[in-house]
Structures are given as C-alpha cells and as structure tokens.
C-alpha cells in the first residue's frame, strides 16, 4: 500500500473509532454519561448472559476504541492498535450478523444512542469493510516492524 494511502486509511479508521468511542463515553446532547445508554444498546443484542459483564463491556469498550485509535499513530504501538481494531471490528461483525440472523430490530449503539432502527445489512457491510481495512493495516504494520 502506498504511503499516502496508508496515512489516509489510518486517519479514517482512527477517526471512526475515536468518534465512536467518545460518543459512547459522553452523551453531548444531554450532557451526561453515555454509559447507561450503551449498556442498554449491548443488552439489546441479547448475547451476553451476565448483566455485570454487559456493564463492564459498556465501560471498557469505548475507552479501548479511543486508545486504539490514538495508538494507531504511535509507531511503537501501531501493530498492537491495528490488532485491537481488527478484534473490535470482528466483534462488531459477529454481533450485527447475529442480530440480523435472529431478526432483531435494534439501534446498534455504534455512535452512542440512535433514534432509528439500524439497517443491519448495511452495518454488516460496513463492519466487513472495517475488518478488511484493519487487516490491511496489520499487514502494513507487520511489514514495517520487520523492516525496523
């Protein structure tokens, strides 16, 4: 991948994860924590059997998104950050795919609380693109790390 292309890809991926993370941490519209809303969003997927795990995920995942997004720009941690992005993208694809398969109607909670049902097929496609881009980033970082 060309140098400029990889920079653009990195900025886009980091931007998506940074915005998604921040909006799950803080609800700017109501000036309050967004954690309760994100907890409910996760619950609506009906995939986790333990409420405490749901809450823990609702607190941790947004910060992981923010940290991974920022770490993508730190050469020493870019490979790990890209791997974290790949993992979160895979989790997203599995969750959305499962919801679509089970015919659930829900708000994906991708960028905080939404107001309309999520188009699951569209989000599945977006997740697959993210997954592919994250994989490409890992390959790039892997090659760069071997050169270093």
């Amino acid at each position: 991948m060309g140098g400029k292309v990889i920079v653009i890809v990195r900025v886009i991926v980091a931007g998506v994860f940074l915005v998604a993370g921040v909006m799950k941490i803080w609800d700017f519209e109501h000036a309050r924590s967004a954690t309760p809303d994100f907890t409910i969003a996760i619950q609506q997927y009906r995939m986790l059997p333990w409420p405490d795990l749901t809450v823990a995920l609702a607190v941790y995942l947004p910060w992981l998104e923010v940290t991974a997004a920022l770490a993508l720009f730190v050469r020493r941690f870019a490979l790990g950050a890209a791997t974290a992005v790949l993992g979160m993208s895979a989790m997203f694809v599995v969750a959305i795919g499962s919801a679509w398969w089970r015919g659930l109607v829900l708000d994906c909670g991708c960028f905080g609380k939404g107001r309309a049902p999520t188009d699951l097929r569209l989000h599945l496609l977006a997740g697959a693109v993210l997954l592919a881009v994250a994989a490409a980033l890992i390959v790039h970082e892997w090659r760069r790390a071997r050169r270093d």
Partner: protein
C-alpha cells in the same frame, strides 16, 4: 514478531483499562442499585431526559383512567388493536418511549415494549424500572 504484536496489543488493552476504571468508578454510581434488565431505564435517568420522554401506560384502562404519569398514552396488550392507531397518531417521534406498568413483578411493560419494537419497528423503547410504584414512591 508474534511476541511483539502480543506485547503491543497487551499494552493497548491495559492502557485502555486505566481510564475505563476511573470512568467506571465515577460514572456508575447507579450500578449500586439493583441491576437493570435488558431495555430497562431508571426513573432518575428518564427524568433527566425531561420532555423528551413519552410515557406509555401498559396497565389496564381502568387504572389509566384513575391516574397516570403526566402525558402518558394508554397502550396495553388487552386493547392493542384498538389503541395502537391513536397511539401512533399522538406520539411525537422525537420523543423516547418509556413504558410502565404497576411495578414490582408486573411484566406488561416488557410485553408492550417488545411489541412496539417488533410490530412498530421502533427501537428506542425503554421500560421504567419499578413501574408506576416507583413514580408514586418518589
């Protein structure tokens, strides 16, 4: 190389844990209370939403006519077919739906919320934790 990848990944995971722990301790004071079931919301949270909330009364008509939450619309399972049309007409789609029943062990609110999500394709529906009893107790 794999070791380097895992080391970096571990660093990112741990680095994210620090603000998450601080944020969790600060944000989740409400967690000390009884855990919320899927789709439930606490009265305090719904009150924070202010006039963006549309209360939905899932109790019987008799109970609704006796007393109900301010501006609540009646929509229960017994009269679903009759009530659903006026409900849709009156509901302002900018408002978040919060369904309640008596409180305690009643599950009419969960049933009505599930039907609203499935049959009316409205995902933004919550059930008031503690129901009407919670409102009266405040």
């Amino acid at each position: 190389m794999i070791a380097r990848l895992l080391r970096q990944l571990a660093f990112v995971l741990v680095l994210a844990l620090a603000p998450a722990l601080v944020s969790g301790a600060w944000q989740l004071a409400w967690k000390k209370e009884e855990p919320l079931a899927p789709g439930e919301v606490r009265l305090a949270t719904a009150r924070e939403w202010g006039d963006k909330v549309q209360w939905v009364d899932a109790r019987s008509r008799a109970k609704y006519e006796r007393t109900h939450l301010p501006g609540a619309l009646l929509l229960n399972e017994d009269e679903w077919d009759t009530l659903v049309k006026p409900f849709i007409d009156e509901w302002d789609s900018d408002k978040t739906l919060v369904v309640y029943c008596d409180g305690g062990t009643c599950d009419a609110s969960h049933a009505v919320a599930a039907r609203i999500r499935k049959e009316l394709s409205i995902p933004d529906v919550y059930v008031l934790k503690g129901g009407f009893a919670e409102w009266e107790g405040k």
